[in-house]
Symmetry: D2
Subunit: 140 residues, 4 copies
């Protein structure tokens, strides 16, 4: 895919201050598929010591959004218009991995999906399934 | 409502380290309605300087979950099983306010809703509508 | 509101053959709010004799879509792009009433909500909460 | 899988009068996967002559629900508690095929998915992605 779009996604990710607050990292970008990881540090948890659903959602939403961006022409942004998350298991372990992908590209809307996994001692558990809609916005 | 349940919700909120990381505060708890606020500080943003959808989601999910907890008998917890967010406008301004409420109580599932508002120079804008399902869990 | 838009909605409703198959009726159209009713006849049920969720969804989706159409300029159509339904109670009784309304109008997307009620011996029970997104399409 | 559960699903399907009204057929039942088909007859359409979203939803919801039932012990029913549908393309052609599957089984909740395809002159188009939650109910 276009190195310009990869670079644009990396720069966009770096501008998301929440990703930095959470310690998230953009791990890979390919056409229609993006992976983001976040460590389960002391500040990312809910009241039982598992990953907070807000963290799970944040990296899943970003991974899904950038997967949409990866299939659009250059000089575009995307906005999340809606996203649903089904939580499948507690987010327990060392880190979370969000894998976003495009279900259906489109000029007006891009339908996306993300799966989030918790990694504990090397074993992945599927903890969330997300489906959503991204709206492409041409940059002026 | 029961002061024990109010106290339990306050203590639970304080144990959510993500809420502290984001700077969120539990503002009010009443039967079936909970309000949480978060300032739009430098670390809570997306790439255009608006509230990150992960922050909007995190406080809406928590407000909705605690509104469910507020209508349950003592000695319960709740888990989010699913939550959908429709984003209505950019989260721009000084702070976000999430107002959670119970749509339908139940022993097995509690259906909840949350509205999130951005406050800019005192004016509220409705930025997100969330609907979800909480599962009550008796504490052993 | 514009009598042309009311008439356009009525004509569109009459062209939806599923509404006729189910026996549904368009009861009222006002700016941003539309009501559709369907009798709980022998052919609209699930395996326990309650309203089938497909019937509940069908009238809620149509009521929500026409509420979006009611706030758009003339010469538009709308398409449902996504819709979530939370089922709150069994659909038991004589008829279902779906009340659609606009949460947030927009040129590119209209966010809508619908509540569906079952009416049994004159008493309404809230059986479903729906939220969704409609995409306006200009007629050529 | 248990022939008793297959038979129970077939009998349950036959009791859903809406499936008969729409002309839908249960095509296959295996462990965690169920397929339902419906012809695009004159009575199943929206105002432009495509499949009505209520029909798409109805067969997707039923396929997803029976896939949940197929992984439960005997003597259970399931209730849909929530379901989201993302519509990907118009339902145009001769028939719709809904394929339901289990994403995550559980005693209290079963998370399910369904994909719906339109078949036109033998070619399948993916028209809807659905994710939802089924609640198992023991038969007394």
């Amino acid at each position: 895919m276009s190195p310009q779009i990869v670079q644009f996604i990396q720069q966009s990710f770096e501008k998301q201050s929440l990703m930095s607050t959470l310690g998230a990292q953009l791990k890979s970008v390919s056409h229609g598929a993006v992976e983001i990881r976040v460590p389960l540090t002391a500040g990312n948890l809910q009241q039982h010591g598992f990953a907070h659903a807000g963290v799970t959602f944040a990296i899943g939403d970003s991974a899904a959004g950038y997967s949409a961006l990866s299939v659009l022409p250059e000089e575009h942004e995307v906005l999340t218009t809606e996203m649903k998350i089904n939580l499948l298991a507690p987010g327990n372990g060392d880190l979370l991995i969000a894998r976003g992908r495009v279900v259906k590209p489109g000029r007006r809307l891009v339908i996306v999906q993300a799966d989030v996994f918790a990694v504990d001692a090397g074993a992945e558990t599927h903890i969330a399934l997300m489906t959503g809609t991204m709206m492409p916005m041409p940059l002026t």
